[in-house]
Symmetry: C2
DNA sequence: ACCTGAACACCGTTCAAGT
DNA sequence: ACCTGAACACCGTTCAAGT
């Protein structure tokens, strides 16, 4: 990659982050290009779709979330690790308004640039769920895709509503994941 | 209201319903006007905002949901009534893609045309929650706003994902609403 | 009292032409 | 190898002019 191209790439990512933070994932691509000091065609050359841009922005952060899952598995009892990782993932999915929707909609779309990210998260979820299930910490029928739906739903609520309210629903969902009597 | 105005009003509502069903609540207003056979200005004269249009579309349906809540209170035990009404409300909120977001975002915005609908739903939720709480059917700290968040979150998931997956998460959320051990 | 539709501002996306 | 920006298609919203 040529040096000027690399520089444009970095500036586009930085401005996209600013714009997505401020206006959500629907932010204007033209404004991102303008603020990065490049023509709109340059943005499209580097990122053919909005999802591709989003994927590049999330990549590092996503790796971190997976890494934190590994650590939790090593250091914490099953139920605790699962809940802690769910909370980390919700916070992660709250980076931009609209991100939760982008993530859940690529869950079963292998052609999406974000599919890899979803898949990696689901695999880590699978390990945490499996471990908690063996320990009897969660209901036996709970799956990794339930956890994924729970995380994105909690993040979506968090986008729209007070932190207190979002926390209350997250509490209810996590409790609902535990073994049920009767 | 003049007869021709009334006719335009009705046609706009009918076409908006078609468009929202097909493209979600972000459907093109210009297309709705075009299909209704009126100029775009006429649409704006009848419905100053997209939310106002949505509100008119939901009004009847909303009254029905409240009415069904009344019946459930009369005919069913507290826990059962609550769960049944939650399911009815989720289905109601699934009418158009994007409706769950519109509803939750007007929850604490009294200036929104949809505020009345949210408020009515929350009041009915309050009655059902109160009744279930007295019977010990739900956790003592659960509130009507928790129920509202739960319903919209479940509807949002349903918009994005298979009915089976949505049902699984709804089951988890409703179970999490029950009294928790420990 | 209601309707029309041009006008304005904005956006996503492509692609021929430039360096 | 990469960048530019005009061109096209589309949309939301307003408002002066018409009936």
């Amino acid at each position: 990659m040529r040096a000027d191209a690399r520089r444009n790439y970095e500036r586009l990512l930085a401005e996209a982050d600013v714009a997505f933070r401020e206006h959500g994932t629907d932010a204007s691509l033209e404004e991102i290009a303008r603020r990065a000091g490049v023509a709109i065609g340059t943005l499209y050359a580097h990122f053919p779709t909005r999802q591709a841009l989003l994927e590049s922005l999330m990549r590092e952060r996503n790796d971190q979330v997976i890494g934190q899952g590994e650590e939790l598995i090593k250091e914490r009892p099953p139920g605790e690790a699962l809940e802690a990782w769910a909370r980390i993932s919700v916070a992660h999915t709250t980076a931009y308004r609209g991100l939760a929707a982008s993530l859940i909609s690529c869950f079963d779309d292998p052609t999406s640039p974000l599919y890899g990210a979803c898949h990696a998260m689901t695999e880590m979820g699978e390990r945490l769920v499996e471990r908690a299930r063996e320990a009897g910490g969660i209901r036996p029928d709970a799956s990794a895709s339930d956890l994924f739906a729970l995380i994105t739903a909690a993040a979506w609520v968090r986008e729209q509503v007070s932190e207190e309210q979002a926390e209350r629903l997250l509490r209810i969902m996590i409790d609902g994941l535990r073994p049920q009597e009767g």
